[in-house]
């Protein structure tokens, strides 16, 4: 980069000019930073933007805009490849603090100082683009989900490698009779056209099908995955869609519901009987009287703790099929809570109309003569259900997140020996007000079998699991993601779902995969920092091989080379900066983000001496939820203490403890980390970032004590996007708490 020439632009519009003295702001730039600012009454208007463009044409190569929040007018103040820094004077300053007040003016000045001080520390990022990128998408699993995913990817113009473990396409749908309704009026079982889908996929020239194949190892990164198949061939793919579906819960464990008694079958076995023709009882006669036992091994802490969401509708469908063949048949559905999500309610109505009898109550046992004992909750008595020909156990879905035929791999034990356990339950660190109890660690059980992809990642061969074998993801905002960038799950392996849902799920995951291969080739980040071209750069000459970055990266982006130095796989990276926050020697940085970039801003704030009676509180706020919530609070004109300075960060995971110790040593009286909720029901957009921050903060107390500082000066609070009304109170509560403790004794040193 040639000589840095920074243009400073102040906006006096939106009431900024009336609320704070613009001359003082101009003075800050002029005297403290030796930069000549330009003030405009409407900087985002054509005239203002043209003014900036003219300066850029005349040689300005970095722009500082002090106007509204960095979250608005991003398109107006985008002058790529010139980097724009934003200082917020509006949402978090004049809209949330009284006009004309000296504290508000000081806040505005500090906001400008932070941006001006940070400007020399950053540059417009140069993306990492190296070698060839594959645009091909691998789809694992040739069932309904996989077939739809393959077809969708091909329709979007991508070559597809469809890998199926068995020797035929179609998956479990091949063994099913009719399918659940998916068209209005959603009230009857519909024809199973799986053959048509298989034929369409087979006829598509972009799709290469590999039957009888499994993946033995997967190396590389998005855009550059090398997938080794069981026949030894190696395929280059850009992204991977996992559509391996489900396996039925092991009915062998359901002896208490009579499994093992002749005539007691699972819903999967009954489905096959329906496909083969009229189901026959043990006597050889057609089935006349059937009881469907719902939640067989589901929503049961001893078995599957979750609801598979489709077993109820499946039993309704099977009962309707039976009644269609023989309207005089007796069908009983024994349920505890019948769950018919969405349009499946119509199927429930249809089943009622057809005469299916629904009995609410717990099944207490099944006799050898197929008498089912139910604690009938509706007639409030224990009822024996006699004269049945068949009992169908509606078992749930277990995700195929492992390959049942492959040998299990020791996961974690020696791979992570001596390291920080990335799966450990997160302690709740400092908290303003009532601290919630630490969540209990949930079962992380992976279904029996070996890893699906056998990832050659430092963090192990499996996709990280949230619980019960389902892949970990921020499933509200990014449903298809896994914690391995470029690898997406869809269909029942992601969560239990039916055929129609799996079709939509396949489309969603494929769109993410397409985005992944295209972003990888452009050197750009994926969600939530879509378009970010920066990537972590590690100064290996300072690296102490402590391996914290390789262990703590939520996405396994950093491997270790032969010499145990960290090795970044840039397209796996999501740019959260958790590695940067982890690095004890601060040698990990991004072109446009670094520890120095943060500490410079912290130090740029003017700290008043204790005789002024004014504290300074630093709020390090996550850009994903906390900053938007504070902006929203400003928009709603909610007010909070003007003694607070907000420092936006990519993720709390990127906050180095150095930021906190620097803040306290320059005289801030308190530091609040404001970010997404950590823990098992986390809201962190980078999965582990806020949890890592909490983990680090739990160790900061001792350090503070050794500095003769009160540990209560540093807290972490949860913020969600909807907290605009709550956060001002939280901040003010913290300020009050700090005032109770007293001023920081390091002030003025």
């Amino acid at each position: 980069m040639s000589e840095r020439k920074t243009g400073v632009y102040l906006c006096s519009g939106c009431g900024i000019g009336e609320a704070v003295p613009m001359a003082a702001l101009e003075g800050v730039a002029r005297t403290e930073y030796k930069l000549e600012p330009k003030t405009h009454a409407c900087l985002c208007g054509d005239e203002g933007v043209e003014m900036i463009r003219a300066d850029i044409a005349a040689g300005v190569n970095q722009v500082v805009v002090a106007a509204c929040s960095a979250r608005v007018m991003t398109d107006r103040f985008a002058f790529e490849p010139v980097l724009t820094l934003r200082a917020d004077l509006r949402e978090k300053v004049i809209w949330s603090h009284p006009a004309g007040d000296e504290d508000t003016a000081a806040l505005a000045e500090d906001s400008l100082r932070m941006a001006l001080a940070a400007a020399p520390k950053v540059k417009f990022p140069e993306p990492w683009i190296e070698g060839d990128y594959s645009q091909r998408i691998a789809v694992l699993g040739g069932g309904v989900t996989g077939l739809n995913a393959a077809r969708e990817a091909a329709a979007l113009g991508h070559d597809v490698l469809l890998i199926e473990r068995s020797d035929r396409l179609g998956g479990r749908a091949r063994d099913a009779s009719l399918r659940l309704p998916h068209r209005p009026p959603y009230d009857k079982p519909e024809a199973n056209h799986i053959e048509d889908l298989v034929a369409a996929v087979t006829a598509e020239p972009r799709i290469v099908v590999r039957l009888g194949a499994t993946v033995t190892r997967t190396g590389g990164m998005p855009g550059k995955f090398a997938v080794t198949l069981s026949d030894g061939s190696v395929e280059d793919v850009g992204a991977i869609v996992i559509a391996t579906g489900w396996r039925p819960y092991d009915a062998g464990k359901l002896g208490h519901l009579g499994y093992g008694v002749p005539g007691v079958v699972t819903n999967v076995q009954f489905e096959a009987m329906l496909k083969a023709g009229a189901p026959k009882a043990a006597s050889g006669k057609p089935v006349k009287s059937v009881a469907f036992v719902q939640c067989a091994g589901s929503r049961d802490p001893e078995h599957l703790p979750y609801c598979s969401s489709t077993c109820c509708a499946t039993s309704l469908k099977q009962a309707l099929e039976l009644l269609q063949a023989d309207p005089a048949a007796n069908c009983y559905v024994l349920y505890e809570e019948l769950r018919t999500p969405g349009v499946a309610e119509e199927l429930y109505r249809a089943a009622q109309r057809a005469g299916v009898i629904f009995i609410k109550g717990k099944v207490k046992g099944v006799d050898a003569d197929l008498t089912v004992h139910v604690a009938d909750a509706l007639v409030q008595q224990d009822v024996p259900l006699k004269g049945l020909d068949m009992v169908v156990l509606a078992t749930g879905m277990v995700p195929n997140s492992t390959d049942p035929d492959a040998a299990p791999v020791e996961y974690g034990a020696d791979l992570l020996k001596g390291d920080v356990d990335p799966e450990a339950a997160i302690k709740v660190a400092g908290f303003c007000g009532e601290a919630p109890a630490a969540p209990e660690r949930r079962a992380q059980a992976v279904p029996p079998g070996g890893p699906l992809l056998n990832l050659q990642y430092r963090q192990g061969p499996h996709l990280p699991v949230l619980h019960d074998g389902f892949a970990d993801s921020h499933y509200i905002c990014f449903p298809y993601e896994t914690r391995r960038t470029g690898i997406y799950t869809c269909g029942p392996v992601r969560r239990p779902m039916d055929w129609a849902e799996a079709e939509e799920d396949a489309q969603g995951a494929v769109l993410k995969a397409v985005q992944a291969v295209r972003a990888a080739a452009a050197g750009s980040a994926l969600h939530p920092r879509v378009g970010d071209l920066s990537f972590p750069k590690i100064g290996l000459n300072q690296c102490t091989k402590c391996r914290r970055c390789t262990v703590e990266c939520p996405f396994g982006a950093i491997d270790e080379d032969e010499k145990e130095y960290p090795q970044v796989n840039p397209t796996r990276c999501r740019r959260c900066g958790t590695c940067m926050g982890a690095c004890p020697v601060r040698t990990i940085s991004f072109d446009n983000y670094s520890v120095e970039y943060l500490t410079t801003q912290i130090k740029a704030v003017k700290i008043p001496d204790e005789f002024s009676g004014k504290p300074r509180i630093l709020v390090i706020a996550c850009e994903n939820d906390a900053v938007p919530a504070l902006d929203q609070a400003g928009i709603k004109r909610n007010s909070w203490s003007a003694h607070v300075r907000v420092l936006p960060v990519r993720c709390l995971g990127s906050v180095s403890l150095l930021c906190i110790s620097d803040a306290l040593s320059v005289g801030y009286d308190g530091v609040m980390l404001m970010g997404c909720k950590p823990g098992d029901d986390y809201q962190c957009h980078f999965v582990k970032g806020s949890a890592m921050a909490a983990e680090r903060l739990s160790k900061v107390g001792e350090t503070l004590k050794s500095m003769m500082l009160e540990p209560e000066r540093v807290v972490q609070v949860d913020a969600s996007i909807a907290d605009a009304d709550r956060l001002p109170g939280v901040i003010d509560g913290f300020v009050e708490q700090i005032m109770g403790i007293g001023f920081n004794p390091f002030k003025g040193f």
Binding site: I357, L378, V379, L385, K386
Partner: protein, 203 residues
């Protein structure tokens, strides 16, 4: 009306299916989802052996004797709260009254002994005979259905009310009023009975 089947075990569906097919409104009974809105809405609920919700489930469970012997079917006052509120449009009131008729036919003791059953009988006697209800005759018939001494006591207990009604010209002391053409009324009722019998058999 066809023969009412008697189930041999719980959830023998013969009785439920007969009710679905033969009772007024029974065709919608299959759609009852046991939400309990009817029982929760019923002003007479506390006086019933059990509410309509449970009654309907007992029909499915084949508990014929408990259903037809219950006072639930006699305590309905036709306020229509349940009918208006039922999310599945089950005509609860119609079903209860129709079941009461079945209970009378099948000779269930509750059908003769409850207050409501006795009153309904007295009311019908007057209406069918005169085409009108006469307060004195209906109450007398109702009170004395409990026997002579009990009927006398009940009559005396309500004497003050009767006097007040006469004074307010709400009850007259002459011969009972009759509708015109009582003979035609008889024909109408005979025809209705004929239709009812046929209706029961046809469905």
């Amino acid at each position: 009306m066809s023969h009412v089947p008697t189930p041999t075990q719980t959830y023998d569906l013969s009785f439920a299916r007969w009710v679905y097919g033969h009772v007024d409104g029974g065709d919608r009974l299959a759609l009852c989802m046991q939400c309990g809105t009817c029982s929760g809405s019923c002003p007479l609920g506390p006086q019933m052996d059990f509410g309509p919700r449970k009654l309907f489930m007992m029909i499915r469970a084949g508990l014929k004797d408990q259903v037809l012997g219950s006072n639930t079917i006699w305590n309905c006052v036709s306020c229509y709260n349940c009918v208006v509120r039922c999310p599945r449009q089950v005509p609860v009131k119609h079903i209860l009254q129709s079941l009461a008729t079945v209970a009378v036919r099948e000779g269930y003791p509750g059908a003769r002994e409850t207050d409501n059953a006795r009153f309904a009988k007295a009311f019908w006697w007057s209406a069918a005979k005169y085409g009108r209800t006469d307060e004195r005759l209906v109450t007398a018939k109702f009170y004395f259905s409990y026997g002579l001494s009990k009927g006398y006591r009940k009559s005396m207990a309500n004497l003050a009310i009767a006097k007040g009604m006469v004074k307010a010209r709400r009850m007259h002391l002459g011969l009972p009023h009759k509708c015109k053409n009582a003979g035609e009324l008889k024909l109408i009722l005979a025809r209705a009975a004929e239709i009812e019998a046929r209706h029961g058999d046809a469905s």
